[in-house]
Amino acid sequence: MTAPNEKEPKSAGVVGKSISRSDGVAKVLGTARYVDDLPALPGEIHGATVRSPVPRGRIRSVRFDPSFDWSDVIVVQASDVPVNVVALIADDQPVLAAKQVNHAYEPIVLLACADRRKLTLAKLAVHLDIEPLVPVLDVATALEGSNVVWTAPAGFGEPNTNVVKRYVLTKGEVDVDAELARCAHVLSGAYSTHHQEQLYIEPQGVLSWWDDDGVHLVGSMQCPFYVHKALVKAFALEPHQVDVAQAVTGGGFGGKEEYPSILAIHAALLSRKSGRPVRMIYDRTEDIEATTKRHPCLCEITTGCDADGTLRVLKMRVVMDAGAYVTLTPVVLSRGLLHAAGTYRWPNVFMEAIAVATNTPPNGAFRGFGAPQTIWAIERHMDALAAYLGTDPMVLKRKNVLVEGDTTATGQLLRTSVSSLECLDKGSSASRYVERRAEIEKENRRRAQRGERKRLGIGASIFMHGAGFTGSGERVLQGKAAVDLLPGGRLRIRTASTDIGQGTETVFRQIASDACGVAVEDIDFAVPSTKVVPNSGPTVASRTVMVVGSVVEACAREIGDRVKTEQVEQGGTFAEAADRLLVKEGSVTALHQYEPPPFVHWDDEAYKGDAYPCFAWMCDVAEVEVDLDTFETDVKKLYLIGDVGKAIHPTMCKGQLEGGSLQAMGWALFEEVVWKDGLIQNPRMTNYIIPTALDAPVFDTTLVECPFPYGPGGGAKGIGELPMDGGAPAIAAAVEHATGIAVHHLPLTPERLFEASLGRLSPTSTFHPAA
């Protein structure tokens, strides 16, 4: 059944086929080992965290109840941390709070014990004496700046303010206000979005132990080398003393990008002090309370257009809530800004993006990474503009949509793989948008006459997502991957790109198989462990297939060529030639580094140029039914038309588009982190509501293939985040069509929709930093 036994390697030709996922059998048998499933190591104990109950305060003392038996409990405090910093971008976040807490749930004390029940009691026996300080809990107060709650590290942020990061982006006319004055129509609006919890079904967890080699860490994570870097820093170790490996990971969505570094250091601290292996698995409440979430965002937009609706000017201000520490905020803000102009042609642009610190848990990576927030704003604004002009939103959007040869807000010339118009038109035709709109309006009139209280609506969004790191990121990162030749003509792929459910290991096998002719079942995928795999960069930014996949392809092609050359010279089967090559050379490995397409030029200073090598494009059309008494919204159908460049694995592509769209629907309709005095009121699955199979719409998914010439497998683009960007505005547009209520602030929960119906949530009422 395997290629090596044949004269020629089996011509794989598996790209484009929905083969069985390679990790599927273990997952359906229940034998896939997630971190909590790993057998206990000898002497292993459990770890727990004692956290701040207040959003801001000075730690006066930590008292350990003398009546409690602490003899078998390991205690770690800030003074036990060699270098009390979580290494990331600004290095402003401590591993454990020492003198001050800056957000609720900030870790202060770590405990470990063999007995889980006693560990729970031990947490209650730690008494924190914290003098509360006045917190800043919203962006308006943070921006106003009289209470500065964030200390800018050297060379970072704006001193003596809460401003963590600021970008300005301009295009065309210098004086946009003068240009606005020349426009036939000018429209302003404000659009806001809220926190979102990733809510991967597997909570965060790690297992750590030390030996003579240094520290070992296995856990649920997206980015082993992030964890590696954080452990090296916090323990002042040499890189070779740190060994980080990914366990099978039950979802991430960005939530396991940077956060696992903190948990890893915590477990490693307890393990070092106790001399025993320590496992830490968060329960759901701790996971929701303590880990990062999507950045809340407010966008204020003023646009100018000609009498016929041709867009002339975009003036925009984007404000994001970073939370108490920087984490990845500058990059999230950047991606948000780079997507804020949407899929439209703007000759003149002035945009400012600001992130401010507040005393809320740090926000971080979440699928879409800033883009869903700003695309919500621009899509809702375009809908508002269409209403203002008395035209259909799809007509206005189509008129102004970016096509090949246009330039984006950063001045990026769209050279190739631009399918916005195709996606929009296919969205219109698949959903019969025009006809359905008319039919629905007729049906709604009929229902109104009969006194029925449910209304139908249809709405659409058109959007894009830049694949790979922003700007010069990929050039700086130099992501690497390797392919080894194994005996019998087998291959092994070594990469730090993790499979967190999206199918990395299957898709990489497909790409490698087609590149070298070895069958997929003869290709191994090494467990992403920092001792074994090269640093491919993190598993984020829709970069795994497009960026790292293209490196894997180059590696596999090289190995295939070397074996085939040997075969041509000395004869025999592929497997025999491979074995001879291995005997001759000892080991045969191809290691390649990512090289961005030559045309990609980005100027960090001017904030201009090619923000991304390419974009993936998508159109969503939502059909909803809204109950006018309960204000519940039922999404009946979601048409998804997504340009993936080349579908390496069509079923998985559809899975990404549908799963991401349902996450977007959850964000739009149900998911709301409820805050009171800086504390989360609903940190449970019982009251933080994500969509079930019954809530989910029927998906009608179309894959568009507009190849990116530099993508692997014949032109694949990154699509992991894309679907998160457009679900909310499409649903809101459909709700507006059904009810006439134009909601500009997420989420569209029944309560908020009701308030909006009474005119209490006016589009511009919440926040005016400029005023």
């Binding site: 069985s20 979802g251 799963g659």
Partner: protein, 177 residues
């Protein structure tokens, strides 16, 4: 307390505190870690097992309730060489992504298909409404259950005509094709 039950077709007898969660007994005492914990309060369905054929959350059942009863966990559905139709369909048709909800979903779907050999999409969604998945959007899960229903019907037919479904089963493995 001595508790005796049938687990995945085998009789088990264990001496445990009766108020311990079935989930912990499965995972910690019996080392059957296919049953997952996602929330610990009966919301996510990752720990779904069958108790006398009914889908229940193992985090909400104490082991004392299981005395004399029949439990099926994901480990009881099939084996590597003989995946159950529902397992095979989740591998081939995109029902499984990250896989953490998968065992619970499979068990709930198996329970549905035992009761209803040809469920409608709406019935599938209803049966799986207690199993949260954050990856798939559920469309591929519904599709996988649909595929499994057809596969089960085919197997049942061949069983009646040939007497044994073994030859059919062997033709399609879960390995990459």
């Amino acid at each position: 307390m001595l508790i005796r039950f049938r687990l995945n077709g085998e009789t088990r007898e264990i001496d445990v505190a009766p108020m311990r969660r079935l989930l912990d007994v499965l995972r910690l005492d019996l080392r059957l870690t296919g049953t997952k914990e996602g929330c610990g309060e009966g919301e996510c369905g990752s720990c779904t097992v069958l108790l006398d054929g009914d889908a229940v959350n193992a985090c909400m059942v104490v082991i004392g309730q299981c005395d004399g009863r029949e439990i099926t966990s994901v480990e009881g559905l099939g084996s590597e060489k003989h995946l159950a139709p529902i397992q095979r369909a989740f591998v081939t048709d995109g029902g499984a992504q990250c896989g953490i909800c998968t065992p619970g979903v499979l068990v709930a779907a198996e329970s549905l298909l035992r009761r209803n050999a040809a469920p409608s999409d709406e019935q599938i969604r209803e049966a799986l409404a207690g199993n949260l998945c954050r990856c798939t959007g559920y469309e591929r899960i519904v599709e996988s259950v649909r595929v499994a229903a057809v596969e089960r019907a085919t197997l049942a037919r061949s069983k009646t005509s040939n007497g044994s479904p073994a030859s059919q089963r062997g033709t399609k493995s879960g390995a990459p094709q």
